[in-house]
C-alpha cells in the first residue's frame, strides 16, 4: 500500500522530508485528497525519523494527529517532519504539510521508546527511507489503479452508522503482520467520511483526526464503529473505534469533517 502511494521520503537525523502525488485514486468525491493517505505519509515520515531518534532502542507508535487546512486536488502534498522531543520513554514528532508552497496542515505523532528485542528491524541501517531523496527499491514503482478503499478491500457494512470493515492482508500490513498505522488511519477517516455526511446532511469530508493506537490489528476483519458527537450543515465530529476479529478495541479516534472548499 505504501509503495502504491508513490512516496518520496528523505530522512536525516533531525528532519524528514517526503511527498506523495495527488491522484484521483486517493481523492474524495470533491476531488480533493483524502485525509487517510496524508496520514499515511505522516506515519511513514515520522516513523523513519522516530526510529533514528530512538536508536539503538526500538519504538512503537502511540498516537497520530492530523489537522488539514487545505487539501489539494492535484500536484503533490509535501511533508517536513522534525523531532520535538526525544526522551527516554517517548519521541514526539511534528510534521508540517504543504501543497504548492502553501500551508496545508500540521500533524504530530508520539512513539513509545522500547528496549530493542531480537527481530526488531534496524531501520537506520537497512533504511526503508533514504538520505538522498531517491525512493528505495521497495517503495518505487507505485501504481495505484483503483480507489484506495478498494485497494485496501474496505467493505461498507453500514455507511450512515460508520461501520466499515477491512481484512488484514499482505497489501495493508507492516513488518509485524499487522495493519500498517497509516492504513488504520485511512480506515478511520473513511468511516468518518461515511458517518458524518449522513449526520450533517451535507457532503462533508474528513480534515482532522486524533488517533490513539491501543493494539496491533492482526486478526481479520477489522471493523469500525462510530458515534456522532456534533453535526451541523458545515461540519461535524465523530468518535470512532476499530475492533479486530477477536472483538478487541485496537484504536480510538475522533475525526472532524467539513464542507470542502469550492475548487478554484
Amino acid at each position: 500500500m505504501l509503495r502504491d502511494l508513490a512516496p518520496v521520503v528523505q530522512v536525516s537525523d533531525h528532519e524528514a522530508r517526503g511527498r506523495i502525488p495527488v491522484r484521483p485514486e486517493i481523492c474524495a468525491p470533491s476531488g480533493r485528497v483524502l485525509a487517510g493517505p496524508v496520514a499515511t505519509l505522516v506515519d511513514m515520515l515520522a516513523g523513519g525519523l522516530a526510529a533514528r531518534a530512538a536508536h539503538p532502542n526500538w519504538m512503537a507508535t502511540a498516537d497520530l494527529t492530523l489537522h488539514l487546512v487545505e487539501r489539494p486536488s492535484d500536484g503533490e502534498i509535501e511533508a517536513v517532519g522534525r523531532v520535538v522531543r526525544a526522551g527516554r520513554s517517548t519521541v514526539v514528532m511534528e510534521v508540517e504539510l504543504s501543497a504548492g508552497g502553501a500551508p496545508a496542515g500540521l500533524a504530530s505523532m508520539t512513539f513509545a521508546v522500547l528496549p530493542r528485542r531480537e527481530g526488531n528491524p534496524d531501520i537506520v541501517r537497512s533504511a526503508n527511507t533514504t538520505d538522498d531523496g531517491v525512493p528505495p527499491a521497495w517503495l518505487s514503482g507505485g501504481n495505484l489503479v483503483q480507489p484506495i478503499a478498494d485497494a485496501l478491500e474496505v467493505r461498507v457494512i453500514d455507511g450512515p452508522a460508520g461501520v466499515l470493515e477491512a481484512p488484514v492482508i499482505d497489501y495493508s500490513c507492516n513488518t509485524l503482520d499487522a495493519l500498517q498505522g497509516g492504513v488504520v488511519a485511512t480506515l478511520l477517516c473513511l468511516a468518518a467520511d461515511h458517518v458524518l455526511p449522513a449526520a450533517c446532511g451535507a457532503p462533508v469530508e474528513t480534515v482532522d483526526l486524533h488517533l490513539t493506537y491501543l493494539a496491533l490489528n492482526k486478526v481479520s476483519p477489522v471493523r469500525t464503529r462510530a458515534e456522532v458527537i456534533t453535526a451541523t450543515p458545515s461540519h461535524g465530529t465523530a468518535r470512532i473505534e476499530t475492533v479486530d476479529g477477536d472483538g478487541r478495541v485496537t484504536a480510538v479516534a475522533t475525526a472532524v469533517a467539513t464542507l470542502p472548499r469550492a475548487s478554484p
Binding site: 514526539v92 500551508p103 496545508a104 521508546v113 490513539t212 491501543l214 480510538v252 475522533t254 472532524v256
Partner: protein
C-alpha cells in the same frame, strides 16, 4: 484553607473545584475514576460558556488519576491529551468519567468523557496518554479508594484568569506563582490547558478582529515548567468551516526559553 494546604501544591485543584473518586475496586486491572465540578465564574467565559481550556485541565486531572492508579506502584506523567468539544453550554455540574483503555510497560491510555449532570448530555470527550515512571517519594494517593474533597474555608487567592495577560499580538504570558504549581513544584498541567486556550483565542482575535472560542485541542507536554514567566505564542495555520486552526507553543522564559508544550487547537467564531 490553611497555609499548609495552600503550599502543598494542591491549590490549583481547589481553584478548579474538582472532587475526585476512584470508582473501581482497589487493585482493578483497568481502574476507573470520576470527577465532579460545579463550574463557577473562573471556569466560564464572559458569555457563560465553559472554557474549553478549563475542560482540558479537568480532563487531564481525572484522566491523570485513572492513569496513575493503573500504573501503581509506579506513577505517571502526562505525555499528551486530546479533546473534542460537543458543547460549551453547560447548565449543571460537570461529571467527568475516565476509564483505562490500555496499560503497557511504559504508557497508560485513558479516555475521559464529560457530561452535563443536569441533562446527561455529552460535553466533551478526550484521550490522555501518560508515561509510566518510577516515582521517588510518597505517591500522590494515600488511602484507597482514592477520594479528593474540597476543604472547608477560604479558597486561596488567584489573580483574574490566573494572571494570564497579552504579551504581544501573538502571545500571552503568566507568572509561575506558587498557586499554579502542582505537588511536584512544576507548572500544573491544568494551567497549561487554560494558557493554550488564552493564547489561541488571543492570536485569532488579533488576526480576525472578532471574538473566538477554543473548541478542539491536542496538547503535547514536552518538558516541565519550573521557573517562569511562561509565554504562550500562537500561529494561525489556516481557516476551515469549523474555525481557525492554531499552533501554540509554551516556553519557560526564565529557563532559557525551554520548550514546554506544543498544541494544535481549533478556535471557532462566537
Amino acid at each position: 484553607m490553611t497555609e499548609t494546604e495552600r503550599s502543598d501544591g494542591r491549590a490549583f485543584s481547589y481553584w478548579l473545584g474538582l472532587e475526585l473518586d476512584e470508582t473501581t475496586e482497589v487493585g482493578a486491572d483497568r481502574p476507573e475514576s470520576v470527577g465532579r465540578v460545579d463550574p463557577g465564574p473562573d471556569l466560564r467565559l464572559p458569555n457563560g460558556q465553559v472554557r474549553a481550556g478549563a475542560m482540558l485541565g479537568l480532563m487531564d486531572c481525572v484522566g491523570g488519576l485513572t492513569s496513575g492508579l493503573a500504573a501503581l506502584p509506579r506513577w505517571v506523567v502526562s505525555t499528551n491529551i486530546n479533546q473534542r468539544i460537543a458543547t460549551l453550554d453547560v447548565h449543571g455540574a460537570l461529571v467527568l468519567r475516565s476509564r483505562t483503555r490500555r496499560v503497557g510497560r511504559n504508557a497508560v491510555v485513558t479516555s475521559v468523557e464529560a457530561r452535563d449532570e443536569s441533562n446527561d448530555s455529552l460535553v466533551a470527550t478526550g484521550v490522555l496518554t501518560s508515561s509510566i515512571l518510577t516515582f521517588e517519594g510518597a505517591l500522590p494517593v494515600g488511602t484507597r479508594p482514592f477520594c479528593l474533597r474540597m476543604p472547608e474555608g477560604r479558597a486561596p487567592d488567584f489573580p483574574p484568569l490566573l494572571g494570564i495577560r497579552p504579551a504581544s499580538p501573538v502571545s500571552v504570558r503568566l507568572d509561575l506563582i506558587p498557586q499554579l504549581r502542582n505537588p511536584w513544584g512544576i507548572l500544573h498541567g491544568a494551567v497549561i490547558g487554560i494558557t493554550v486556550d488564552a493564547a489561541a483565542v488571543h492570536v485569532v482575535e488579533q488576526h480576525t478582529r472578532s471574538p473566538g472560542v477554543m473548541t478542539d485541542a491536542v496538547v503535547h507536554f514536552v518538558a516541565p515548567g519550573r521557573v517562569g514567566p511562561i509565554e504562550a505564542a500562537g500561529t494561525v495555520i489556516g481557516e476551515r468551516p469549523d474555525g481557525h486552526v492554531v499552533r501554540v507553543e509554551l516556553r519557560d522564559r526564565g529557563a532559557d526559553d525551554r520548550l514546554l508544550t506544543v498544541a494544535v487547537v481549533t478556535v471557532a467564531p462566537v
